[in-house]
């Protein structure tokens, strides 16, 4: 368990804020891509890359590293941003996102960017891969202290393959596997409660024999505590349902599913003119000192 002082928490919040700015700049420069997920997951990714993960950005193939598998590949701008800010590659390279010849493909490609553990984009296959990695590790070293973190969206829980993997993970009692679900309540066609209701979600996971926690996905200390508890569970794999606000940080974008797949500049026009969206996004980015209460869904 990582102990965080109040200063640590504050410093991580500020770092997350800096990373959000990079995400917005990347998306504006690219002219396409997803806004809601990357901004909503900024706090969790910042905590993981700057505090939780055992990794070495200067040696991305270090054998003893923890593995982070991004299942919902479309939120990769946040993955690229934390990777750059933690030293995997220059921050300036972030502006190549989605461009010809870039290592920062529109959806992640393992072979072009060291530090990416799997190529993803088509939804629903990340948990299976994380289960496979954890199974292989158990064969390699039953006393291993590596952790396998898999990040998924909530929309992709519609995929049947997720539940195939959940059954296998539960069956095999993969204690070193921790799945974090971005429960932001939106997907590309609308709110998850309308497209495909997921609740009761906690009970679903529990019935698949996983340890389940729910947490405010913007509260650094709560997330840290939840991951610490998940690491301590020894007889089950763990799942953390992180309640997040899509597009967190920019109040006029927040909670609106129409921001799922648009970059600032091409998003919905109700509150902000398209021509001004990028500027507003950067200007109005909220600082994150203090709690954001878990919002209600279905």
């Amino acid at each position: 368990m990582h102990y965080l002082t109040d200063e640590d928490v504050r410093s991580l919040e500020l770092k997350a804020n800096e990373i959000r700015q990079s995400v917005i700049e990347m998306l504006v420069e690219a002219g396409s891509g997803h806004t809601a997920g990357p901004l909503g997951m900024a706090d969790i990714f910042t905590l993981l890359y700057f505090e939780i993960l055992r990794h070495n950005p200067k040696d991305p193939f270090w054998e003893d590293r923890d593995r982070l598998i991004l299942s919902n590949g479309h939120i990769c701008p946040i993955l690229y941003a934390v990777m750059a800010h933690s030293g995997y590659f220059p921050v300036s390279e972030l502006l190549t996102l989605r461009k010809f010849g870039s290592r920062l493909q529109g959806h992640p490609h393992k072979e072009t960017l060291p530090g990416i553990e799997t190529s993803s984009g088509p939804l629903g296959s990340g948990v299976s891969q994380a289960v496979g990695m954890a199974l292989a590790e158990r064969i390699n070293n039953p006393y291993s202290s590596k952790y396998f973190y898999c990040l998924t969206g909530d929309g992709e829980l519609d995929c049947g393959q997720i539940w195939e993997a959940m059954m296998l993970g539960g069956k095999e009692k993969l204690h070193n596997l921790i799945v974090i679900v971005d429960r932001n309540g939106i997907q590309i066609d609308g709110y998850t409660k309308d497209v495909m209701p997921l609740e009761p979600l906690r009970e679903k996971f529990e019935s698949f024999n996983w340890d389940v926690q729910e947490v405010d996905g913007h509260n650094i200390r709560s997330i840290n505590d939840a991951i610490g508890k998940a690491q301590a569970v020894y007889s089950q794999p763990s799942i953390i349902i992180a309640h997040t606000i899509p597009s967190k940080g920019i109040d006029v974008f927040e909670r609106d599913f129409r921001w799922h797949g648009n970059p600032p500049g091409l998003g919905p026009e109700d509150f902000v003119k398209k021509s001004e969206q990028a500027a507003v996004a950067l200007k109005k980015l909220r600082t994150l000192n203090g709690y954001i209460n878990t919002h209600e869904y279905e």
């Binding site: 593995r67 598998i69 490609h109 393992k110 072979e111 553990e117 799997t118 190529s119 993803s120 984009g121 088509p122 629903g124 296959s125 990340g126 299976s128 891969q129 994380a130 289960v131 496979g132 990695m133 954890a134 199974l135 292989a136 590790e137 064969i139 390699n140 049947g160 393959q161 195939e164 993997a165 059954m167 296998l168 069956k171 095999e172």
Partner: protein
Amino acid sequence: MNMSNTLLAQHVNPNLFNSDVETAPNRNGYGNGLKEAGELDERVVALSADLVGSTKTNIFAEAFPQRFIQVGIGEQSLASVASGMAAMGKIPFIASYAMFSPGRSWEQVRTTIAYNGSNVKIIGAHSGISVGPDGATHQAIEDIAIMRVIPRMVVIAPCDVHEAERATLAIAKYVGPVYMRLARENTPVITTIGSPFEIGKADIYLTRDKAHKKTVGIISTGTVTYQALVAGRTLNEKGIGASVMHMATIKPLDKAAVLAFAQEHDVIVTVEEHQRMGGLGSSVSEYLSEVFPKKILRMGVDDVFGQSGTPEELLAHYKIDNASIVEGAQKFLQ
């Protein structure tokens, strides 16, 4: 009969054309080969989706229970779990029926295995029409096409039990994604234990009688190579110089062998237990159309689904049996 045997390559079973020819399902060769591969390399692991026995993965699972994973009936997850294991240094073999894996899991195979460059071996058992009584739902006759089109994917269809065993050992050593299709039924043993096998190498099993003027080069893959060989023998007896090349590796295609074969024969006939579209015949046609345009008769299922029946009835109905090959080649030469 003796005359025909002299046309056979030295490493082909000399008993091949006799009525008491030995038979075995080639999936047995996979099962034994996988256990050997497991003994040779501890990185080899096996996974199955509730078809451990009929894919013969049980031989490995009994020998190495710690290295076997039963994922249940979830072929999509099967492919991606294997990709995850490969990312941690394992050499996973995933076995199911071809209709389900890779039939159901094509995108997972493409993204999580091939695009990731994962060292996963996909074993599609019960492929082809000869699965028989189970009917069209279980007859994978599109699998070569859907795997062949994926970049990096090697595609192999062994002709018999010995070749399946050698191919299994070869793909365990090869680094990269491989699809190998197997058959359910007992089929004649064509090769011998010592026959050579190399990924990407075609092999001429029967060389035409040089006395005949008209010539046909038959290229076949999988267990129907037996049908091609019987047809080849018959054609030579009927005065047509027929040679038979077995193409165990459909991708990468042995281009040099195909070109030389095309140059040496009047026409080419391809034979496979697969749709005429997208399989071996297409691959041969695509290549030759660019370098050595040639008349090519593609024998296979002609854009329809299969049905229940015995393997013999079905091979005859869909014109993949030796009599149909003989008839097709004769007409094609006219």
